[in-house]
Symmetry: none
Subunit: 197 residues, 4 copies
DNA sequence: TATGAATGAGATTTCATTCAT
DNA sequence: AATGAATGAAATCTCATTCAT
């Protein structure tokens, strides 16, 4: 765990702190202290605070996307693929090792001001939508999903993931175990898309 | 429009600026300038920046709740009530006069740090969940909605509203008219809850 | 001397410090310490360091111009007016109460980067050229000055003032008393312009 | 043009950047980037920023002096020598290949703080004065120049060069072609020193 | 209630210089 | 000679909040 370069240690600390305290409440000092690194190294390696913020988010996003790719690749039909996508999405978000919260805070669904860095993330995030859209189309083709518009339904389901996830990680509203809440969410999606026999 | 007390002018300016720029980027100076009012009046009337932020959000939230109350009260059955709730939610969010964005930024689904003010909003927001839950229960009673857990389903649907709304007001992802996107969202909800005959 | 507002005290300290140490070596801390005033007052009253720098210079420039106006107004003919202009210019520059050095450092003849503030000073400085030009024209009209182009000669003479003054206040090159050096300078100008009989 | 050692490339870049942006606005990074050379070489070869600044200036000054030597050596009498000195001074300053601006910024007539490096330049600059003084003395001896004090007149004329040059390269005040302005300047000098018959 | 000058802690960013490789 | 990561002091500027008027 100590075989990190100083640049990597900085990114690691950034993921922890931005996730925990958000952008505004996280200072250069906190980051460099936690990373055990000189203050000036932050701008030396990452240019400025915002770039580091998005670098941290992008790192999580890339891991996230590869998990989703795996999950959808293994599915036997479109409906299963969609549900597997959703299950992995939610599972990733509550895994303490993923630093999910950084991504919540700099994703396109957060309220950061637009910036060049944000635009890059915006485009990267479209890969997530695409993965879902592919499964929806596949489900319509194989008859496991009712007829619907794949593009906009992908947005609706992503929206549901975003909202359910925020309910879970930002609010105190999920009574019962979060497992239950996520199970309900999956059931909701299933009812909305699956072709009944 | 000019018959505002200075205190009201401050709240008005706060709704505009917090909505447009967020909490951190909005300063006392900007608010008092926009309101055309002395800087010191801000603490005088509202105590501090955070209290003003939540006062602005609460003002929007109260309007929001009364719109939702109206919408659900008029419904003929549970399913219609739920759909009416959702339609009003989304319509409110794109009405330029409601200052919806402030609420987005200080709602429980945003990533503000916890504080006394936030807790108040948290509790107020439960009225929204309650309105929806009532319609879900009603729909199960009158047979227009499939059997499900009203409490957690209310959370799931609220989550969907939150996510769909963020997609619409924060991201550039809604191709087609936003009307279309919101229509798809309502159809999605309907498929997930309505009892088919 | 103590009946200064804090804003005035800041300008006073700025004139002293910018004059003595130049722009780069003068810090907010030094200025506010010398003025006995809070650090933040500097941006509160003057916006930023550069604006304060030019405010200090403009203050000196305005005093300078009114001295030159007086000096030229009293002259009996054009040649005397020009010489009086030069004498006053040089005298002003070695009067310890005028804070001349600030002006040297932000005048158009210094090497500050262009900025909005600098442009204002640039235009103000043209009043100096104009005063001199008027006397040159007058001298040609009354026969005390040889025929020449008043506009460009005004620039040449101003240039000479700038250079002689810099020799005097920035370099160690003026052997003999500076009085002598300035006397030589005036004699030089006189030889270059006066109509001999 | 590419047959520069890294040390020379550094000096070249320094002349360009210090000339264009001044001392404070020029950073090690900009210099090493422009030179295409590692950052650390700067201190390695030149010790520190100030030494590099003056090394750049001294390089220009040495070229300058040899041009002036040539110009005065060729003159047929003292008056012609002085005018040739002035003409060469001004021509050198507008030749784009000489990097004149660096010298403007670190010459004794600029407002750099005193330092060991500056003292060296100060002494070197005296050679310029000396060249001029020699021609003045020669002109008095050969009768082409009116009786005057050579030492202080050399200072006055150098001052005029400094000021005229600054008018030309730092201010926007020279209307007409700069050629015209420099011609006027030479005529002014001539009137002030030449013995009329 | 109303004003805006005053405060100073704190944040980000810059950058000359060092040094291990 | 050459590299560029690393350091941390220092500078500018921001801004919520206080307070005298």
């Amino acid at each position: 765990m100590k075989n990190l370069t100083k640049k990597e240690a900085l990114l690691q600390a950034a993921k922890e702190l931005f996730g925990e305290y958000g952008f505004a409440e996280t200072t250069f000092k906190k980051i460099s202290d936690r990373a055990g690194v000189a203050l000036g190294l932050l701008t030396h390696h990452y240019g400025n605070k915002e770039k580091l913020f998005f670098a941290a988010g992008m790192d999580v996003l890339e891991n996230f996307i590869s998990v989703l790719q795996q999950a959808t690749a293994d599915a036997e039909d479109g409906r299963t693929g969609v549900l597997s996508f959703c299950r992995s999405y939610l599972a990733f978000s509550i895994d303490p090792d993923t630093h999910w919260l950084v991504l919540v805070r700099c994703s396109p669904y957060s309220d950061m001001k637009t910036s060049e860095d944000r635009d890059i993330m915006l485009r990267k995030f479209e890969e997530v939508h695409h993965l879902l859209e592919v499964q929806l189309q596949r489900g319509m083709d194989d008859g496991s999903i009712v007829p619907l518009c794949p593009a906009s339904t992908a947005q609706v389901i992503t929206g549901l993931m975003v909202g359910a996830n925020r309910t879970r990680v930002l609010t105190p509203y999920t009574f019962g175990s979060s497992q239950d809440f996520y199970t309900e969410t999956l059931a909701f999606v299933d009812r909305a898309i699956s072709a009944r026999n």
